[in-house]
């Protein structure tokens, strides 16, 4: 097995006037998950389509499982599983028939395809709907069936293009669990997502793309450290002008005060013991504090720092951060 299972080298692709990819390079070591993070139209799907033999690049090269994608697309197809952004299913077949068809066309014996289909329908909680025509499935069910189809032959390399877009929180959690199980089994995954918490939760490394270019790369931790900024919010028991004066030296003067004068917010460089220092300063000034929160930078803050724009549909960084932390805890408790 090659050490690097997915390799994109200077990929260029235009659609008419739009340059979807302007020289994108990244690689994914065997058995790891790369999160390709970026807003809509950043070029994520185009990169996936090239790597999965669906589209030819104008320039650049790509290798999957050590095989040249342009020279031997057929051989690449034997190594990959793909869950596309738009579910790619046969609406007139049942869920089970869809999976068996995919299995048979991938060279599995019918019996094996059948048993594997049953297994995956169970795993994705589609067993009850297995013999219903896919046309009647909900959006979430279609996405889950598409994911099942991508994993049917247990391919060593998996491409998941926005696997949880449009899923309800419970289904999303289920998909995350399945992806985590896969990672444990040594599969290499390229995951594209608009959700920072998803990349944070699943990916070993993250490549941030915007306007067809890689603008940042690293582990989730490295990316967060790069933005350095933390956010402080202090809630006072009663309004007092001296509170701002008391903490101003600690937060560098970038203070915002809410209309009722009860809440103070500031972006700060994260520093050890910052919360302690803030409480001490406020206490010395005789101010009663109800609550103090120092929030570490979320990936959205990172993305904002890099591009000057929040991720679409995810414009409140703390909102994205909070449930993910909770989910990770419940995840840990289960494990």
């Amino acid at each position: 097995m090659a050490d690097t299972m997915i390799e994109a080298d200077s990929l260029v692709k235009s659609y008419g006037e739009t340059r979807a990819l302007a020289g994108v390079s990244f690689s994914v070591p065997a058995g790891t998950v790369l999160g390709l993070l970026g807003p809509n139209g950043a070029g994520k799907t185009t990169a996936v389509r090239i790597l999965t033999t669906l589209t030819l690049p104008e320039a650049g090269s790509a290798r999957v499982a050590g095989i040249d994608v342009l020279a031997s697309p057929g051989a690449v197809r034997r190594q990959i599983g793909v869950a596309a952004q738009d579910a790619t299913l046969d609406g007139l077949l049942t869920g089970r028939q869809n999976l068996v068809l995919v299995g048979e066309l991938s060279g599995m014996r019918s019996g094996l395809a059948r048993s594997r289909a049953a297994e995956l329908l169970e795993l994705f909680e589609l067993a009850d709907a297995a013999d219903r025509v896919v046309k009647g499935y909900s959006g979430g069910m279609r996405r889950r069936l598409d994911l099942a189809a991508s994993m049917l032959t247990r391919p060593p390399v998996l491409f998941l293009d926005e696997p949880t877009t449009g899923l309800d929180p419970v289904s999303r959690q289920r998909v995350w669990e399945v992806i985590r199980d896969l990672i444990g089994s040594g599969v290499t995954v390229l995951l594209t997502t608009q959700y920072l918490d998803e990349a944070d939760a699943l990916a070993d490394r993250i490549v941030v793309v915007d306007h067809g270019q890689v603008i940042a790369e690293g582990t989730p931790r490295e990316l967060k450290e790069r933005s350095r900024s933390a956010h402080v919010e202090v809630t006072l028991a009663e309004p007092g002008a001296q509170a701002a004066e008391a903490i101003a030296p600690l937060v560098g003067g970038h203070l915002s005060v809410s209309a009722d004068g009860l809440r103070l917010g500031a972006a700060v460089d994260s520093a050890p013991g910052l919360a302690t220092a803030l409480v001490r300063a406020l206490d010395q000034a005789g101010i009663l504090v109800d609550n103090i929160e120092v929030r570490q930078p979320s990936l959205d803050d990172v993305f904002f720092a890099l591009t000057g724009a929040h991720i679409p549909g995810d414009d409140n960084g703390s909102a994205a951060e909070q449930p993910s932390a909770a989910e990770r805890e419940s995840e840990g408790a289960r494990a």
């Binding site: 669906l54 579910a87 299913l89």
Partner: protein, 284 residues
């Protein structure tokens, strides 16, 4: 999860025409054929052009026009059956065009394109499913004809040969329809192909009326129309009245040979062309 070892075929190249062994290709075709048959079972109205239409046409032509069109050497009933078979099978190839155009507009095509399958199976599987529905169509035409009084004095072998001749022609024509479907912007535009091309093709022939009464230029076209050769061939094999036998044009003198030649020629041109269109259409 229990670990399952998936048998992966070992060939490395895996490009357009070399993927997989012959056995694997046949399996791919069988899977795709079955898939298309399931489609038909889900939307039985798709079958109306090979079930309702033949019954309707047979009844219409025999009882409506039958009395008005004199046939030298026999009855219109005996004359029209081969023509009805050719008419129904020719126009039903529209289904191939619509089916392929629909597939290309659904997400399923992207799924198929990332599978390590023999891609022409998409086309061959479609043509196989359409051949099976053509056989159903032939049965419906024969049964309706028998009920309405069509008879043949030919032996079992020539009877089967007559049906096979028309079915083979319809099969080759379904590859032309595939080319049209692969170049259609939508299933609807693929359907209009039927009315613009297939109906004139079927009607400007000896299928419904003897060509002798047509204007000279039209008769020339009709006598060289492959549908005429196929129809005359079946009439000859079934010992049914065949007024075209009196026409000196080569295909009318040798209708069986001519229809086989047409079918082989059309298939040899349209099948590779369809594969090429498919490859072009699915590689952006």
């Amino acid at each position: 999860m229990t670990p399952t070892i998936v048998q992966r075929p070992r060939d490395a190249a895996g490009t357009w025409m070399t993927a997989g062994s012959a056995a694997e290709r046949i399996k791919n075709v069988a899977s795709m054929t079955r898939r298309n048959l399931v489609h038909i079972s889900r939307e039985p109205m798709q079958l109306s052009d090979v079930t309702v239409q033949p019954v309707l046409f047979t009844v219409l032509f025999i009882y409506l026009f039958g009395g008005a069109i004199p046939i030298p050497g026999g009855s219109y009933k005996a004359f029209i059956l081969a023509g009805l078979l050719a008419l129904n099978l020719t126009t039903s190839t529209m289904g191939t065009a619509v089916g392929l155009a629909t597939d290309l507009h659904e997400g399923i095509i992207d799924r198929l394109r990332v599978l390590p399958m023999w891609r022409p199976a998409v086309l061959v599987g479609r043509s196989m499913a359409d051949l099976l529905t053509s056989c159903l169509c032939a049965l419906v035409v024969a049964a309706t004809g028998l009920a309405a009084g069509w008879r043949t004095s030919a032996g079992p072998l020539p009877i089967v040969a007559g049906f096979a001749l028309v079915l083979f022609f319809a099969y080759s024509l379904s590859w032309v329809a595939a080319c049209v479907g692969l170049n259609s912007k939508s299933p609807e535009s693929a359907a209009s192909f039927g009315f613009i091309v297939l109906f004139p093709l079927a009607f400007v022939s000896n299928a419904m009326v003897p060509t002798q009464h047509m204007p000279g230029w039209l008769q020339a076209i009709a006598d060289w129309n492959p549908v005429s050769a196929v129809t005359a061939g079946a009439r000859q094999l079934w010992h049914n009245p065949n007024p075209s036998g009196a026409i000196s044009a080569w295909p009318m003198q040798h209708p069986v040979e001519a229809s086989l030649a047409w079918s082989v020629l059309i298939l040899a041109a349209a099948a590779p062309l369809a594969s090429w269109f498919f490859r072009r259409r699915t590689l952006s």
